[in-house]
Amino acid sequence: MLNNLEKLISMMLRLLILVFLLGFMQNAMAQEDDSDEEWPDIVLRDDGKCTKCHDESSGNPVLFIGKTKHGTVADGRTPTCTSCHGESDEHMDGDQAIPPKPSRTFGKNPRTSILDRNQVCLNCHQGGKRMHWIGSAHANRDTVCTACHEIHTVLDKVRDKNTQSNVCFTCHKEQRAQINRPSRHPIREGKVVCSDCHNPHGSAGPSMTVRDSVNETCLTCHMEKRGPFIYNHPPVQENCAICHNPHGTTAPNLLKVRAPFLCQECHEPNAHQGSLGTITGAYARNTIARGCMNCHTNIHGSNNPENVRNDRLFQR
């Protein structure tokens, strides 16, 4: 009797083990299952049909999107996989070892047109600061949203101050060199970033400036230059970029060229205005130290009401 009991227990234990093993194996094998059964959603709504094949170990890892705003399903506006990649019936139904690509692809060598790819994003992101995308320089030059943005990762490099400029430098090579010049904005330190001045999604300003003009953009940080002053220096009001290159220069204060050469591009050679560049002699005062600004110190404009003749010359 005891032996039978032992046998029964032994058998039941083996069965239990077998059941667990089978259960475990089924669980393990489930990753490879290609049955038509509905799969539970893991991240996005209705993503089961995608995540049954695509996890982080697949060639196209997808699950990190769960960490992002797009993966916040409590917000009913967030997309499903197929909102962006299309219904992709052939991709899912195919029984080939390498299935056809989804209806819309965004990665390397995509077959989806640039307009169609961007339209997927614009379907939700067309308002606000992206209002002027259509017709912008980036749109006209076939820039695709995913050239700059990474959708499936929580760290979208172009939206991080420390890494944004490197994304922009993928195309803007001249600026990559300029930010290493001795007179520069703190771009390398991530304290000023490209999007502080430019709206890459388009704007009503020239060169996609965030404000309506170059000057209005510069004034967001350098508002002391706005004036108007009693005595205005005309190029200051017209366009800061006549004298300055904001991306970096070798001349001090982001000036395109040193004094006196910069000033001589506009000023009549009345007398001292036409002096040679020299680092010695009487006219060194126009070249070294602050150059012409050694005297014309209020070069952006003077609000001095005193009736001394040199006020107009920005000397005080």
Binding site: I9, L13, F24, N27, V43, F64, G66, K69, G71, A74, D75, R77, I114, G128, H132, I134, G135, N140, D142, N162, K173, E174, R176, N180, R181, P182, R188, K191, G202, A204, M223, E224, R226, P228, N232, P234, E238, I242, T250, A251, F261, C266, P269, N270, G274, G277, T278, G281, A282, I288, M293, C295, T297, N303, P305, E306, N307, D311, R312, L313
Partner: protein, 696 residues
């Protein structure tokens, strides 16, 4: 047998635990992959060298220990979609950023942000001037040896914002930013007109400008986001306040009689000003192939800061400028695809800056004839301008995934104003034509080649006149007004010759021909050339090892001419800026617990000043302007070693190199004795060791 049963029971229990742990691990793994993660990074770094350039904007200037502290707390309530983010970056440095965000995605949100940005002047002043940083300075009357002083400014910004989605696809956004900028920057006063005559070296004094600015930006925007129609309208306001109206001095040099530097007090400082803008922008998709956008804005800017008290104002001048500038902006664009292969774009922009500042006679003395025989006027100088910018572009699809693009741009400027110390013209017009061939969608080779030509011309130049009424020199057309022809060629190629290798080539070159002279003087700006070449390559050895390298060569050249003082000898100069830069980088994971990355960048930049002559009778003792060379390099290395899955160590090493022969301040001593110096060869080592921990 009992042992056997127990043994089997143990195996069963173990398997049960294993199975449970596998399930738990799967759940954990999915959670790990899909739930937001928080990280904290703390430690210390040691800066091995004092420096002026490396720490210019970070505060890492003095040898010693610095704290490393970064935090990013990111939480999400999955049931409600409520996010909480607390981000702190560079908390141990002087350029720290702190941001707090709390939002229910798709419903409401608000944020608070604090940013601190120092700027250390890379030159050290040796000065005896006292009171620096205040609006009243004591300046030595004779050259005096002083103490080292490092000028600095610092911006501290507090930003607040909130948004709320409203029924009917509306969203309300509010924002406010307050920036305090404090410190002092290089500034000075001087006059060449000391006795015995105009060729004398005048007096120049070091009087740093006190910076005590408050800048506020605020606004409200109401957005409407419909399927076809999007609108964004609201208010944008800016206020600038300078705590100091004028810079006054005591002391200073009395050499120069009525032109002595000591008499150049008070010196006006930037006045308070403000602007208020109402705007409406929008976009409408007429159909899937046609969309229009627009922006209309009206801005009222004013400057009514009270003038500083003085005895030397002209009769009838007001108590402040009553400055008022109204700016109207209208911009509209339409993009359409009338045929599947044809895309058209038209863009129109109109901006009218109307300076309504009343004109008063501030300076009757200006009517006196000056040393050069000129007479000016003492009225304030409001300037208005209007710009029209139009763009038209057509793009047509060709076989082989090519597109042919043609475009015309037109820009027209209307300016008010009269010629004074420079020439002036009321209108300029610039017409540009562009043709481009582009291949954007291909597996191995994509790229663009384009050619742009533009012509700028304008109305006749107004005549500058002397005190006698006779024409003044009228020799130079200012660079922004001069007639100009520009040709530009651009080439960009992206090539993937092998699966793991991508190569990018970018070339652009432009030629500017200016008609910078007037009356056939041969003076002014003549020519400008810019060349930029770059080569980039990225190689992916494996998923765990990638490398990149790049090289850039950038050259600009400007040819211009001027004329010396009496005996008025024409001279020309060719200004060249030649830069060579390269970078190499690598990121890898040689071991599952170890991640390393390194990046090296180097730039060598030279300014050349090729003057046609270096000596004329008027001005003996000249020394040609020497070339200036800058060498700047940086090597970054980091390594992360995981002690556990969510805990590890991070090592950072930075080697920064700066070398120059720049002479800007080398030979300059202010009349008060101040000199500015810099270390021309700076090599900086920074080593940081920190721990990181992440959690969910």
């Amino acid at each position: 047998m009992k042992t056997h049963i127990l043994s089997q029971a143990k195996i069963g229990a173990v398997l049960l635990i294993m199975a449970n742990s596998v399930w738990a691990e799967q759940d954990y793994s999915i959670q790990e992959l899909t739930k937001p993660q928080s990280t904290i990074n703390f430690g210390a770094g040691f800066l091995f060298n004092d420096n002026a350039r490396f720490g210019q904007y970070s505060g890492l200037r003095d040898e010693g220990f610095y704290g490393i502290f970064n935090v990013n707390v990111l939480r999400r309530n999955d049931d409600t979609g409520t996010w909480l983010r607390i981000m702190g970056r560079n908390l141990g440095y002087q350029n720290r950023d702190i941001r707090l965000e709390h939002s229910r995605q798709g419903n409401w949100g608000y944020f608070f942000e604090f940013n601190q940005t120092p700027r250390f002047e890379p030159f050290t002043a040796i000065t005896a001037v006292k009171g620096i940083g205040s609006s009243h300075l004591q300046v030595p009357t004779t050259p005096t040896t002083g103490d080292p002083l490092r000028l600095k400014t610092e911006r501290e910004i507090i930003s607040l914002g909130a948004h709320k989605f409203l029924p009917g696809n509306f969203e309300l956004q509010l924002h406010f930013r307050n920036e305090e900028k404090d410190g002092a920057r290089i500034f000075g006063r001087g006059n060449r007109l000391g006795p015995p005559g105009p060729t004398a070296v005048g007096g120049y004094e070091f009087i740093p400008e006190p910076i005590n600015f408050t800048t506020r930006i605020f606004g409200a925007t109401l957005n409407y986001n419909g399927k076809d129609l999007q609108l964004s309208g609201g208010y944008y306001g800016t206020l600038f306040e300078n705590k100091n109206t004028a810079l006054t001095t005591t002391g200073g040099s009395s050499v120069g009689g009525i032109f002595a530097p000591s008499l150049f007090t008070p010196i006006a400082l930037p006045p308070d000003n403000q602007a208020h803008q109402a705007f409406l922008s929008g976009g409408y998709s007429f159909n899937p192939y046609t969309r229009g956008t627009f922006k209309a804005a009206y801005t009222i800017a004013s400057q009514t800061d009270g003038f500083f008290p003085t005895q030397l104002t002209a009769p009838g001048t007001p108590s402040n400028l009553h400055g008022k500038v109204d700016t109207s902006l209208v911009q509209a664009a339409v993009t359409s695809r009338p045929l599947s292969k044809l895309t058209l774009l038209a863009n129109f922009r109109y901006e009218d800056r109307d300076d309504k500042t009343p004109v008063f006679l501030y300076n009757p003395n200006a009517f006196n004839v000056d040393l050069n025989g000129n007479r000016w006027n003492g009225f304030n100088t409001p300037r208005s301008f209007t710009t029209f910018t139009n763009k038209f572009e057509a793009s047509y699809a060709l076989p082989m995934n090519l597109r042919l693009i043609g475009g015309i741009d037109y820009e027209h400027w209307d300016r008010t104003g009269t010629p004074q110390t420079t020439s002036h013209r009321n209108h300029t017009d610039e017409l540009s034509g562009r043709v481009e061939l582009r291949r954007s969608l291909a597996e191995a080779l994509t790229g663009t080649i384009s050619y742009i030509h533009s012509d700028r011309s304008g109305s006749h130049f107004l005549t500058n006149v002397k005190a006698t009424g006779d024409p003044f020199f009228n020799l130079i057309a200012p660079i922004n007004l001069a007639d100009r022809n520009r040709d530009k060629v651009r080439l960009l190629l992206n090539w993937e010759p092998l699966e793991p290798l991508s190569v990018q080539v970018a070339v652009d070159q432009s030629w500017d021909n200016f008609d910078g002279d007037r009356n056939n003087s041969g003076l002014g700006i003549h020519k400008g050339i810019a060349r930029n070449y770059s080569l980039d390559a990225v190689y992916t050895f494996s998923e765990d090892l990638q490398a990149n390298a790049w090289f850039s060569r950038n050259e600009t050249q400007i040819d211009q001419a001027s004329r010396t003082p009496e005996p008025r000898v024409p001279w020309s100069v060719k200004l060249e800026n030649l830069g060579t830069s390269f970078g190499v980088g690598m990121n890898g994971r040689p071991h599952e617990k170890l991640e390393i990355g390194t990046n090296l960048t180097y730039s060598d930049i030279t300014d050349k000043f090729k003057q046609s002559i270096t000596e004329v009778a008027c001005c003996p003792g000249n020394t040609p302007v020497p070339d200036i060379n800058f060498k700047q390099g940086r090597w970054n290395l980091f390594a992360r070693y995981a002690l556990q899955k969510n805990l590890g160590l991070r090592l950072d090493y930075i080697l920064d190199y700066f070398k120059t022969n720049e002479w800007t301040w080398n030979r300059w001593t202010y009349t008060d004795g101040t000199q500015l110096t810099q270390d021309t060869n700076q090599l900086v080592n920074f080593l940081g060791l920190s721990a990181y921990y992440s959690w969910q």
